[in-house]
Symmetry: C2
Subunit: 367 residues, 2 copies
C-alpha cells in the first residue's frame, strides 16, 4: 500500500503513463491536473496491490472513453466523477471496494486516481493491459475471462446508457457509437470483477511502474545523468523484460490521418550518427511496429515509445512533428500479453499487419 501525497509523484506517474501509452491512450494531462488539485487539498489517492484486497472484493474500472484529441481538451468535473460512482453502485447493487485502471497507458491511468482521491476508494496497483490498446476486447481482463459489461457509459450532460453485450467486441462497438453520439467524450464504468479476478487477470504493479518510469526520467534530468541510460536500467530491472534504445534520430517525415475515430500515421526518422539509417514507426492510435532499414525490430504487443532526445519526455503520436530529434525505445510487453491467447486478440494481424509477433529480444538478437 502507498499513498500518493505529492504533486511530483502524480507528475511522474503521468509522464510514465505517456511512455506506456506507446503514442496512444490520450494525454493524461487533464486528469493529472485534477489529481494534483486534490492532493493540494489533502485528498490523497491510496494505492493497494491486488494481494491486499479480499478475493470477494468488488472491483470496477472507471475510464474516459472517446477520441484522444477530445479527452485531452475535456476537463473532468468532480460532480461527474461522483455521478459515475453513484450510478455504478446503484446499477451493480453494491459498494465499490476498489478501482482499477482498464489501461495504464495514457489518460486512463488518471481516472481511477481522480475518483480514488475524491471518494477515498483505493486504487489497485494494476491495470488491464500494461500499455495502451485501442479496443476493449484487447485487455487482459477480456482475454482471460472478465467481461467489460454489464457496464455504464455516461456523459456529463446527464445521458446514461447501460450496456449488456454478448461479448467484448460488441461492447467495444456499442461504447464507440454511444460515445460518438455523446460528442466523442464519455465516461465508463466497466469490467465489474472480484478481487480474485483482479489478482488473476490484471497486469500487476503498473501504477508503480508509471511512477518509477517518470521518476527515473526526472531525477536523471535533475542530476544531469544520462536520461536514457537511467530509464533503460530501470525498465530492464523488471524481471524477464528487455528495454533497448532502438534508434537515435531526427523525424524527416510524419503523416497524420484521422478517420473513423482512429489516428493513423507513420513517422520516418533519419539517423543522427549515420544519416543513411532510416527508422519507420507505423501508428494506429499507438506505435505498432518499428522498422530499422526495412527490418522489424519491435512489434505490437511489445511496446514502442518515442521520446524527445534532450528532455527525455515521452511523446504521443499527435505530438510528433517534422525536424524533432527523438529516441525510439523498445520494451517487452508483460508476459501475459505474449501468450498465444493474447496474441490472437492483440497480435500484429489484428491491426492489419501481415507479420507474426516476435519478441523484441529475438528481433534484436537477429538484427
Amino acid at each position: 500500500m502507498f499513498i500518493v501525497d505529492s504533486v511530483q509523484d502524480i507528475q511522474d506517474m503521468a509522464r510514465g503513463a505517456v511512455l506506456l501509452g506507446t503514442g496512444g491512450g490520450g494525454d493524461p494531462y487533464v486528469g493529472e491536473l485534477f489529481v494534483r488539485a486534490q492532493i493540494k487539498n489533502g485528498r490523497y489517492p491510496k494505492i493497494l496491490s491486488c494481494d491486499e484486497i479480499p478475493d470477494d472484493a468488488f472491483v470496477l474500472s472507471i475510464a474516459g472513453i472517446g477520441a484522444p484529441s477530445v479527452i485531452v481538451e475535456h476537463l473532468v468535473s468532480e460532480k461527474t466523477l461522483h455521478r459515475i460512482l453513484a450510478r455504478a453502485e446503484a446499477f451493480y447493487g453494491r459498494r465499490v471496494d476498489a478501482l482499477i485502471s482498464a489501461e495504464i497507458g495514457g489518460a486512463n491511468s488518471m481516472f481511477p486516481l481522480a475518483l480514488g482521491a475524491i471518494s477515498g476508494i483505493p486504487v489497485l496497483d494494476a491495470d488491464g493491459i500494461g500499455r495502451a490498446v485501442p479496443h476493449i476486447e484487447m485487455t487482459t481482463f477480456s482475454i482471460y475471462g472478465c467481461k467489460a459489461t454489464p457496464g455504464i457509459v455516461m456523459d456529463d450532460s446527464g445521458n446514461v446508457i447501460t450496456i449488456e453485450a454478448v461479448d467484448d467486441r460488441m461492447a467495444e462497438d456499442l461504447c464507440r457509437v454511444v460515445t460518438g453520439a455523446m460528442g466523442a467524450m464519455a465516461f465508463g464504468a466497466l469490467y465489474p470483477m472480484t478481487g480474485k479476478q483482479a489478482k488473476s487477470f490484471a497486469v500487476q504493479r503498473t501504477i508503480t511502474q508509471t511512477l518509477e518510469i517518470g521518476r527515473a526520467i526526472r531525477t536523471a534530468r535533475e542530476d544531469s545523468r544520462d536520461i536514457f541510460e537511467s530509464l533503460i536500467d530501470y525498465l530492464n530491472s523488471w524481471d524477464g523484460r528487455t528495454a533497448r534504445i532502438l534508434f537515435d534520430g531526427k523525424i524527416t517525415d510524419v503523416t497524420h490521418d484521422t478517420r473513423d475515430g482512429w489516428h493513423f500515421g507513420r513517422a520516418t526518422m533519419t539517423g543522427l550518427q549515420d544519416s543513411t539509417d532510416e527508422c519507420v514507426v507505423e501508428i494506429q492510435n499507438e506505435f505498432l511496429v518499428c522498422r530499422l532499414n526495412g527490418k522489424t525490430i519491435t512489434i505490437v504487443p511489445d511496446l514502442i515509445s518515442i521520446l524527445d532526445r534532450e528532455s527525455g519526455e515521452p511523446l504521443t503520436g499527435e505530438m510528433l512533428t517534422y525536424g524533432q530529434r527523438v529516441k525510439v525505445l523498445g520494451y517487452s510487453a508483460d508476459p501475459m500479453l505474449r501468450r498465444p491467447e493474447s496474441l490472437e486478440v492483440l497480435g500484429p494481424r489484428m491491426f492489419g499487419i501481415d507479420e507474426e509477433f516476435q519478441p523484441i529480444e529475438s528481433l534484436l538478437a537477429s538484427a
Copy 2:
C-alpha cells in the same frame, strides 16, 4: 374494447397501416404474418380505447427500430418478444398494464399487437403520431410531455442497452447509433407512461382507423365498387378531417437514394387525363410534399399516400417503380399534429423544406 380474432382483420389493419405510413414506417408484412399465426392458434390481441384504462395504469411502447428495408426482412420471434417484456418489467420495476404503438404508420403498428397476442396484455387503440415519422422526438408523446426514455433497446442476439437521455432528440441519436451497431435492426421498449398520459398525449382510435381503412379498400374491391370513392368517403367521415385524391397518373421518373440510414427520393408522375399535368412527390423516408404543376397541394405533417390505381393497395416509397399507374391521396393530419408546438418539431422546415405548413384544405381551396 374489441378482440382481433380474424386473420382478415389483421390483413386489413396492415393495409391501413401502410396507407398511414405515407410511404415510410417500414412494411408491416412480417409483423402481420406473426400476428396471423397467433390468431390461427387462438391467441387474439385485445384492443382497448384509452378511456377504458385507469389513469395510473402503466403503459409502454414496444417498437422495432432500424432501417425499414431491414425490418421488412427480419422475422420477429416469440422468444424475443417475451424477452423484451421481461426485461422491460424488470427495468421499470412494474407490470405492463397496456401496450401502445409509438407509430401506427407501417411496421410498428404490428409489434404491440404481436406482443399483445402472446402475452395477453391489451393494446391501446391509439398511437404516438397517427402516421409515420422518422424521429423519436416527432411523436405527440414527445411533443406533449412524455419522454421516450428511460427505455431499453435490445437485439435478438442478447445485447441489451438501457438509455436515459436528457431529451428525445438525444434519445433518437442514441437509439439510431445503437441500432446501427446491432446490425440495423433492434427492438425498443420506450415511452413509459401512465394511462392518463396515454389519454392526453396519444393520437386516439388509430388502430380502428387502420382496420377500417384496410376494410374499406378490400370490401370495395370485393364488391366491385370504386375503391377510391369508398376510401375517401371513409376518411372524410372522421370529424374535421379532409381526404382528397390529389392526382391520377403514371410514374414517369423515380429516384431512390439511401444514405445515413434514410431513404431519399422523388417520384414524378404524369397525368392520365392530361399528360401535361405533372405531380411530384418528395420522399424522405415518408412522402413529405406533393406538388401539382409546381404548386404545393399537400405538405407534412398532413398525409400523402400513393396507391396502385387498379388494386387500391397503398405503396411504400421503396415500392415505387417507373411506369406504375397510381393515385395520390392527401389527408389532413390529426388536429394534434397541426398545433404550433407540433409544427415546430414536425413541420416542413424540420425536413429541410423551406415552406410553411398549410392545411390540405386551404391548399386545395386556393389551387
